[in-house]
């Protein structure tokens, strides 16, 4: 189920053209899948294999709630599919937003869309279309886990043809559901969300409730709304053109506005999302054109839900607004939505969560429809780190070759990769210790290039293989870190005492740091990185050579820190640790991100280590070395 890296671009292209090409496919597929999708969604929602379809289905439901959060994925997905299948991306975005609970593996969704087969099928049918979009979405590091299952199912059931992008979007939306919604993809999302809502409302509802993020919800809602309105208005349209989508999006927006006040944030979104879901996808399709990039992930669930929800009428207004982005995201989904309004509408009533996303999608679609695709408007709201197009060469060696990562706030992000993959280089660039040749890094909404001092202030850094001032004693070193950060002496005193107690360094503080063991040095440097209580912790191999007891203590501290809103991005070689601890992971090989998303998404049913080995490309059997067995002494 895991797509190779090459498939990503293929999927993107695929998605773009898929919506147009496969709209016809989608219609029948959707029909068949919608029927099958619902049960499938429920049944397969949890399974990784069929994830795409159920996820897309689930996504809308959850996407609405978490649409905002998943916006980046949605955006990416929508961007990919924007050209051709706005709705698809929208659906994907929506899907991502819609399904916070389940992790979405993009590929299964894509495959499901592509296959268009019945068995897992709604997923498979959605797979091809959504595969590309999903991959884009996944690559975009969306956090809409929960949206994934729902949107997957939604996509499968509702919008197969358009669902490809949609499904991808749903997947993406699921992963990034929590993130700010991508307005563009909201239309797709709406459709997806409506579909998902119907089928996996229960699942996604619970998931989404947990993972509701304002932006995600917003975008999802928007997309859903857009989708529903689009679907309604453009039910008769066959192939959604961008213009048509835009019009539908506007319509959807109006409807959404009419239905409920489109609130950017999650709470109000729910109602809207519900209404949006009922709106047909067609308006979504129309509106998707502009908004798909933003709500790519969200749109998926939105799209799905929208498609599913079409018959429902409540959602129309919200859906209308959302449909704009959704429409863009899923032009295809809109078409099939038109064909199968009833199936889509079914999911509408269930989805409370998706309403949230829909509303957000509406908002996003509003923005998108207004013409300005806000690239990163959602970034500051819920993203701790946003890396785009990072490139770093060391002479001929391309250490970092175009990395795009989005770390949502409040997440525990792991970066894994083989030796020499560029992890340390990437983290050094984020920490401000290295200058990239190209690309942008935005930390908590602060652009590193324009305001480096402010960016450094919100970060705590633990670099790898760099010395520290080890002629000072431990206490003096903590004072040094604190005073450089601008803390006062008594604050440092208290915090240093707390940190020493937590890290079990009490009596070692009076000794010179050069007398410490390697693990103790790591611990004191970690304590120094945290002493000014930053928002983001950038840790490079923090558990290297630290004993298990201290590792457990450090993990507890970091988990508490994350649960209170902090963000941790760390790199490690311990796969079981990453699997146990991290909420999202990115696999970097050769300077590129090969897989990204939640843990379940990335590992796709295997263990993370197996998946990593698979991606990193083991050399297989080691041949030669026979001489090693003939002891030549």
């Amino acid at each position: 189920m895991t797509a190779s890296p090459d498939d990503r671009t293929a999927q993107v292209d695929e998605t773009e053209t898929a919506t147009n090409k496969t709209s016809a496919k989608r219609a029948p597929a959707r029909k068949q899948s919608s029927g099958a999708a619902t049960p499938e969604e429920t049944t397969t929602a949890g399974s990784a294999a069929k994830k795409t379809a159920p996820r897309t289905a689930a996504k809308p439901a959850t996407a609405k709630k978490t649409a905002a959060a998943r916006k980046p994925t949605a955006k990416q997905a929508s961007g990919a599919s924007r050209a051709a299948s706005g709705t698809a991306t929208a659906a994907k975005a929506a899907a991502e937003k819609a399904a916070p609970a389940t992790d979405v593996v993009v590929e299964p969704l894509n495959r499901a869309l592509a296959e268009n087969s019945g068995a897992k099928t709604s997923a498979s049918s959605a797979a091809p279309r959504s595969a590309a979009a999903a991959r884009t979405a996944a690559a975009k590091n969306s956090a809409a886990r929960s949206t994934a299952p729902k949107s997957a199912s939604t996509a499968r059931s509702t919008a197969k043809p358009a669902a490809k992008s949609t499904a991808a979007k749903t997947t993406a939306a699921k992963t990034t559901a929590a993130k700010t919604a991508a307005p563009r993809t909201t239309p797709a999302k709406t459709t997806a969300s409506s579909a998902a809502a119907k089928t996996a409302a229960a699942k996604s509802a619970a998931a989404k409730a947990a993972a509701t993020k304002a932006a995600a919800a917003k975008s999802a809602a928007r997309s859903t709304t857009a989708k529903t309105t689009a679907a309604k208005a453009a039910a008769a349209k066959a192939a959604a053109t961008k213009a048509a989508k835009a019009a539908a999006a506007k319509e959807a927006k109006a409807k959404a506005a009419a239905a409920e006040p489109v609130e950017p944030e999650a709470v109000a979104v729910e109602a809207e999302a519900a209404s949006v879901e009922t709106a047909p996808e067609t308006p979504v399709i129309e509106s998707t054109s502009q908004i798909e990039t933003q709500s790519g992930t969200e749109i998926e669930p939105a799209v799905e839900s929208a498609t599913v929800v079409e018959p429902a009428t409540v959602v129309e207004p919200a859906a209308a607004a959302e449909s704009e982005p959704a429409a863009e995201a899923e032009p295809d989904s809109a078409a099939p939505v038109l064909v199968e309004p009833p199936s889509e509408v079914e999911t509408a009533p269930e989805v409370e969560l998706e309403v949230v996303e829909v509303v957000e999608a509406v908002m996003d679609s509003d923005d998108a429809a207004s013409g300005a695709i806000r690239p990163d408007d959602g970034a500051s709201a819920g993203e701790a780190i946003r890396i785009r197009g990072l490139v770093k060469h060391f002479g001929d060696n391309r250490a970092v070759d175009g990395i795009d990562l989005t770390v949502p706030a409040g997440s525990f992000y792991g970066v894994v990769g083989p030796n020499g993959a560029g992890k340390t280089t990437t983290l050094s660039i984020v920490a401000g210790l290295l200058r990239a040749d190209a690309g942008s890094v935005v930390i908590c909404g602060i652009d590193q290039a324009s305001d480096p001092q402010a960016a450094k202030r919100v970060m705590g850094v633990l670099p790898d293989r760099l010395r520290t001032f080890d002629r000072l004693t431990g206490r003096q070193l903590l004072y040094y870190y604190g005073l450089l950060r601008g803390l006062t002496a008594d604050v440092i005193e208290k915090r240093a005492a707390d940190l020493a107690r937590a890290f079990d360094l009490g009596d070692a503080l009076s000794r010179v740091v050069s007398d410490y063991s390697a693990g103790m040095t790591k611990k004191i440097m970690l304590a120094g990185a945290m002493i000014h209580s930053p928002r983001v912790l950038v840790l490079d191999e923090p558990f290297e050579s630290v004993d298990p007891v201290s590792s457990a203590v450090i993990l507890d501290i970091l988990r508490a820190y994350v649960s209170h809103g902090g963000t941790v991005i760390l790199s490690s070689h311990g796969m079981d640790l990453v699997e146990r601890v991290c909420s999202r992971v990115a696999i970097i090989v050769g300077g590129e991100v090969l897989a990204e998303g939640t843990i379940d998404e990335v590992r796709a049913g295997q263990t993370l280590e197996a998946r990593f080995v698979e991606l990193a490309g083991s050399s297989g059997e080691v041949e030669g070395l026979e001489w090693l067995h003939t002891f030549s002494d």
Partner: protein, 521 residues
Amino acid sequence: MAAHVLRLRFALLLGAVRGERRIRTLVAFAAIVAITVAVCLAVLSLDSAPVPVARAVTVLGGAALLVGFLVGPVLVGAVDQLDPRRFAVFGVDERQMPWVLALASLVSVPSLALLAVYISVCVVAISAGAPWALAVLLTIVSVLTTALTSRIGMAINALLLPERRSRELTALFALALIVIAFPVAVFFGSLRWDGLVPDSLAVLTTAIGYSPFGAAPAFLFSVAAGEAGAAWVSGIVAFLTLALLWLAWTWVVRRLLTTTERPVAARERTGLGWFGLLPSNAFGAIAARSLVYWLRDRRYIMNIIVVPVAGVLTVLPLIVAGVPIEIAALVPVPVMALFFGWLPHNDVAYDSTALWTHVASGVRGLPDRLGRLVPVLLVAVPVLAIAVPLSLLLIGDWSLLLPLGGLAASLLFSALGVSSVLSVVAPYAVSRPGDSPFQQPQRPTSRGTYGPAAAFLGAIVFSAPTIWLFAATIIEGSAYAPATFWVGILAGLLVLVVGAVVGGRIFERSGERLMEFVETA
């Protein structure tokens, strides 16, 4: 009560030679004995000197002794064995304690040494012509005055400063003492007496003779010289001083016995060393860290040691070549000042990869630049304060004090300013932390480094006006002396401030470039 305390005092004296610190105590005792003998002999040699000379020497010496006993405990952090506070728990009569403690304080090694010295002074005075009754009386007054002064000095230390003091604070006090007292002592020692009191000293002697610090010895020799008026004034001042000291001592004892300080939250943070002394901001942190490294890292210590040695060694070839010593002695001070200022021109490279702390925390450039200069200044200023008087001693022309000081200041500060800029612009690889200072690092590129030469030449260029004025002073006379001094200091400070600001700006903006340098060097 007195008997108890005296017995206690004897026991303490005997206990000092017991235990682990026996050898150290005995060595210190022997040193005190030796010094006392030397001083007594020196005083007795005044016997042959004319009375004004003897008066000048004893008055100034006595004043210095009193000042030393008053502020010495604060500087050294000495712990008083008979601290009045220790008797507070015994329910003693606080009206008796002052004279009991004063009496007990006379039973100590320094007091006995003092007694020996003052007896010598008395002998000299009697042989000079003072009536022996008055001489003995005033000698007793002198001894009591000095003893009470030392008691009060210890009490001030107990009242003002906390008990446990960091070593670094004591070191700072000692450095301040060296910077101030050494030149003065050398100056006085260099004056040519030839049986006559130099005019400047005569005025000083008279003034101190009427003050509480030197009244008693002044009386002795005024009487011997037959100046009744001056003698009466000095005598009355001496008795008044004793009375006032007694009152002060009584008040201090009563206060120490009856009051305790409000327990303040321990401001003294233990275990911080220099970090506790310097201000709690980025500048203080970087200064403290630099101090720790300069005083403990082998690579830096080598730099510190080399400079004075190089400064002195440059003189030898010149002397061998026949340059008169008056001119050759002018060379070490500017050379040392220049090299001290040149030392931090590569400070960033010495940090090695630990520089990431500064770059990642976004510390401002100016505190960083200034903080790195603190250790250099802390070492350079005392060394120059010792070198300048010694050079002038060899030259013999004390009118060159101001110009030489101005030149040294100009070279030192402008070199520091130029180094602040060059250490961020042109750093080059040095031995890594933990390596021997003589281990050459591997340089990845064969690019020539212009940092050291640029720092050297830049300092000389910026000091050009001062150098020109100094030459003018030597050649044409002391008319240019004040100008040299002020021009030197102002120009040096200007270059220092500008260099620190510019270097700070460059540091802030090129953090990543410096990180790449330290990671590859």
